[in-house]
């Protein structure tokens, strides 16, 4: 599966929950949302194979 965040792309193998995938790429589950096929998905969704998950930062600063 492919995880995309801003201009970075990671390839992960096997099956995992969205939450674990976010941690594996070094991001914080509280700080991002996951989108699969244009739809928002929750942390407990299992992703695998050809899935491409786009992560969106939820943190705004200033």
């Amino acid at each position: 599966m492919k995880i995309i965040y801003r201009d970075k792309v990671w390839e992960l193998k096997g099956r995992t929950t969205v939450r674990d995938a976010i941690k594996k790429v070094g991001l914080h589950p509280e700080a991002v949302l996951a989108v699969l096929d244009g739809k928002l998905i929750t942390d407990d969704v299992i992703i695998a194979g050809d899935d491409t998950v786009k992560l969106i930062s939820v943190v705004s600063g200033g």
Binding site: H28, P29, E30, A31, L33, V35, L40, T42, I56, S57, V58, V59, S60, G61, G62
Partner: protein
């Protein structure tokens, strides 16, 4: 939503979020039904989400976009376009104040000229002044901003680290109009996490600006938010509890005196807005505007 031990489908989530906002409006007596509210909108998820929610709840909410003149990737231009499209889609009134057109310089330009003042500090000062001016002149019941739990918890954390008692005494969901020329300020999103607001905006199909303001990327607030998110990961609900317990402890006088003595405020000799300075307010000094006398 681990902090609430709650999982909702999209339809119920879209009902739950406005309910949280309505609860905050009522609990803290922010404004009443039918009262005109000025929503300060940046084009981001929180402010556009807030505007959308207030409209859905039936409040006559109007938008104010302050064009700061941030040039990086046409940031201010793109943000204004998003706000304009949002307003047009909903038939909601909004107005734009362009800082460079009004005062001759953009925020980055004026802050470069004023050494020792950060860009974010300058920006905050200018936005507060303009928001107050527009709200007072337009007769709005309140200015509503999109501050959420994460924003408030990060500020609280920063203030507590420095034991900044003056700021701690005044950090509140409602800042009353303590002067005839000072508009009431309210934060209707203080029951919602940043993550919930981003989810709300995505599910509602709100076309918000994802990119962060280029000047805020190194903001210390982001560092504190990261620390608080680590805490949240270990202990779901920690951010909300930190903030809401603070409000409760202060209200009960367990932290600071429950009644804070008001700072004596005069009026700026040029613009007339309230100030603690003897003549010109910080805003007029920033632009080196002459006194009206």
């Amino acid at each position: 939503m681990r902090q609430h031990r709650l999982a909702l489908c999209q339809d119920h989530f879209l009902e739950w979020v406005p309910q949280q906002v309505q609860r905050a409006i009522e609990k803290f007596h922010m404004f009443g039904p039918g009262e005109r509210v000025l929503v300060a909108v940046s084009g981001g998820k929180d402010s556009l989400g807030l505007w959308d929610i207030l409209l859905r709840l039936g409040y006559p909410a109007e938008g104010l976009y302050i064009h700061l003149g941030i040039p990086d990737g046409d940031y201010s231009e793109v943000s204004q376009e998003r706000v304009g499209r949002f307003a047009a889609d909903r038939g909601a009134p909004f107005r734009v104040v362009n800082v460079a057109a009004e005062y001759g310089m953009t925020i980055p330009e004026v802050s470069r000229r004023k050494r020792g003042r950060s860009t974010c500090g300058t920006c905050g000062l200018v936005k507060r002044h303009i928001m107050n001016q527009v709200a007072c002149e337009g007769g709005y019941a309140a200015i509503a901003t999109g501050h959420n739990v994460d924003d408030e918890a990060a500020v609280l954390f920063q203030n507590a680290l420095h034991w900044a008692t003056g700021y701690l005494a005044r950090q509140a969901p409602v800042l009353p109009a303590s002067h005839p020329r000072l508009a009431r300020k309210v934060k209707p999103l203080i029951r919602l996490y940043e993550r919930e607001m981003a989810a709300y905006a995505l599910v509602r199909g709100i076309d918000y600006i994802y990119e962060e303001c280029p000047y805020s990327r190194r903001a210390t607030t982001l560092f504190y938010k990261d620390l608080l998110n680590q805490l949240e990961e270990r202990s779901p609900g920690a951010k909300q509890q930190f903030y809401l317990s603070f409000l409760q402890a202060r209200q009960q006088g367990r932290l600071l005196p429950a009644e804070v003595s008001e700072v004596e405020m005069g009026e700026c000799t040029r613009c007339g807005q309230p100030t603690t300075a003897p003549e010109l307010c910080a805003f007029c000094r920033l632009w080196e505007l002459e006194s009206a006398d």
